[in-house]
């Protein structure tokens, strides 16, 4: 009986559809399967709504005679964004991006390894679950000033904060993905003599991939928020978009403040779009 793989040991063979709706705390997979705009009517409505919101805010600001140092007109923000996109802002964008990407690379790797570990050894999950919960619920931004005292004014405290914010998101979603065992497909691979590694590489991993991509998407969004927020609290000497936000608001330069928010927003949407297309390319079979 020792030759019988563990996945199949003494289970009554059954082919009930595996539960598709196994998600983490929140069903983020909806994010990767939003229907793209299809018809001209839809596109017109989308653009129209965006324009309506833009001009509504503009109208309110103009009509109430709100001064720029209280709330800038959307047109001024766009003007500042287009005209004064100076080397300072490009530098800040660069710094924030470096912090974000380094932190995500470290955090997601840790998250993936932990997810694999937790799937293989349920005991590990029981032990680390409280810490994962703490990491998810505690804003990692709060760690940055604390790390500054110990590590100085380089990029590392922010990179660590981004890693700590993204790791549990990647881990939770990937673990959900790895737990999707489809006995029939594992049996199929076994019947052709597949090794444990082949079953992982050719069945378990592809099956988990859609959830891993969702984990990366959510982890990236949390990571970006942590990078910008951390810079607002205690930036490095290099600065970053978060420090620019604090700087402009302290001088009541609200047009520049608004333009910086716009950069952060575009960065966030860009991350979403990138993962949307990754999901479309590698996980469309599930939609």
């Amino acid at each position: 009986m020792s030759q019988v793989p563990q996945e199949l040991r003494d289970e009554i063979p059954s082919f009930e559809k595996h539960e598709h709706e196994q998600h983490g705390p929140i069903d983020w997979s909806a994010l990767t399967s939003i229907q793209g705009a299809r018809s001209m009517a839809e596109i017109t409505t989308l653009v129209g709504l965006a324009a309506a919101i833009f001009w509504l805010i503009q109208g309110i600001v103009v009509w109430t005679h709100t001064p720029t140092y209280v709330f800038p007109k959307p047109t001024e923000v766009v003007k500042t964004f287009v005209q004064d996109f100076s080397s300072t802002e490009i530098h800040s964008l660069w710094v924030t991006t470096i912090e974000f990407l380094s932190g995500l690379a470290i955090g997601s790797t840790i998250g993936l390894v932990l997810a694999a570990l937790v799937t293989l050894k349920p005991f590990v999950e029981k032990v680390i679950a409280p810490y994962v919960l703490i990491m998810v619920t505690t804003p990692m931004i709060a760690l940055v000033p604390f790390l500054r005292l110990k590590m100085g004014f380089g990029l590392w405290p922010l990179i660590i904060a981004v890693a700590l914010a993204s790791a549990p998101m990647v881990m939770i979603n990937s673990a959900t993905g790895f737990r999707r065992t489809d006995l029939a497909k594992i049996a199929l691979a076994r019947s052709y003599g597949a090794s444990t590694f082949q079953i992982f590489a050719k069945i378990r991993f592809p099956l988990a991939l859609p959830m891993i991509i969702v984990g990366y998407m959510v982890g990236s969004i949390f990571g970006l928020l942590t990078a910008v927020g951390g810079e607002m609290v205690a930036s490095s000497e290099q600065g970053g978009l978060g420090r620019d936000l604090v700087y402009y608001s302290s001088l009541a330069r609200m047009s520049e403040f608004g333009a910086t928010i716009l950069i952060v927003a575009i960065l966030g949407v860009l991350i979403y779009v990138i993962f949307y297309f990754i999901g479309k390319r590698w996980a469309s079979w599930e939609a």
Binding site: Q3, P5, L188, Y192, L207, L209
Partner: protein
């Protein structure tokens, strides 16, 4: 070749007990069956009679609690990819691979180059040529199951084990698939064990029908099917066919009543 003359598969006193939370289930109790080389045998029975358990034990995917299974003269201790091909319920294609990649999957597992010529001729024969780049969700249920048959046959196994492969198909597609299977089988010398809960499907396909009954799973009766080959759908309308369906139906039902209840 077989050390047992022309017996390809020999099941000897197979017993399988599953331990569940509510107690033990006797899925197989002292089941003995012989399948000859090149024969097509159907294992027929209601759900819970252990027919799928028996097939999975033959494939080496599951172990037995007692008894043994010999295929080609050697006892089964694990999967034998070179000799045995398994066809599953619901086609069991990998949804993230297109048809061609699905057919190449077993070759990848075995670290072999795909046999393009063989795949091509099988695709032509099953009417799947031209769909190589389609993903499983883009194929009909019948096409998916044909693809899974091609996947198994491309490996050229001597033994084909089929686990209710057409159970999820509609009646018309099922007839079509049965005719296709018989045609493919007649062109080769394969030994086929076909599990089903459909009596007329079993009679239509088989040289012999092994009727199993549940709780505990055991062989109630074995029928030799004398219908001439090649078989046609028209044969299923003949009174002799219909009376055989009735006879086997009664065997399935009374066979269950007369066996000892062991809980």
């Amino acid at each position: 070749m077989s050390a047992n003359g022309d017996v390809k598969i020999r099941v000897e006193n197979a017993t399988k007990v599953y331990e569940t939370k509510t107690g033990s289930v006797r899925a197989l109790e002292d089941v003995s069956v012989e399948v000859h080389d090149g024969e097509l045998v159907c294992i027929l029975g209601p759900s819970g009679c252990g027919k799928t358990t028996l097939l999975w034990a033959m494939s080496g995917l599951h172990g037995l609690t007692g008894g043994r299974i010999m295929i080609g003269g050697a006892p089964i201790t694990g999967p034998r990819p070179a000799e045995i091909g398994m066809i599953f319920q619901d086609a069991n294609l990998l949804p993230w691979r297109n048809l061609r990649q699905n057919l190449e999957f077993p070759f990848e597992i075995k670290h072999r180059k795909p046999d393009e010529a063989r795949i091509k001729s099988l695709l032509d024969e099953t009417g799947l040529a031209g769909f190589e780049n389609a993903f499983p969700r883009e194929l009909s249920g019948g096409m998916q199951q044909r693809a899974s048959i091609v996947r198994a046959l491309a490996q050229d196994p001597a033994v084909l084990l089929m686990d209710e492969p057409f159970g999820a198909l509609d009646a018309f597609t099922r007839d079509e698939m049965n005719l296709l299977l018989l045609r493919l089988w007649s062109e080769t010398d394969k030994t086929i064990v076909f599990v089903t809960h459909n009596i007329s499907e079993a009679i239509f396909l088989a040289d012999r029908v092994v009727v199993m009954t549940p709780r505990p799973g055991r062989v109630a009766k074995v029928y030799d099917i004398e219908l001439p080959r090649p078989r046609t759908i028209e044969m299923t309308f003949e009174p002799s066919f219909i009376s055989l369906v009735q006879e086997i139906k009664i065997a399935v039902e009374t066979g269950g009543r007369h066996t000892l209840e062991v809980e």
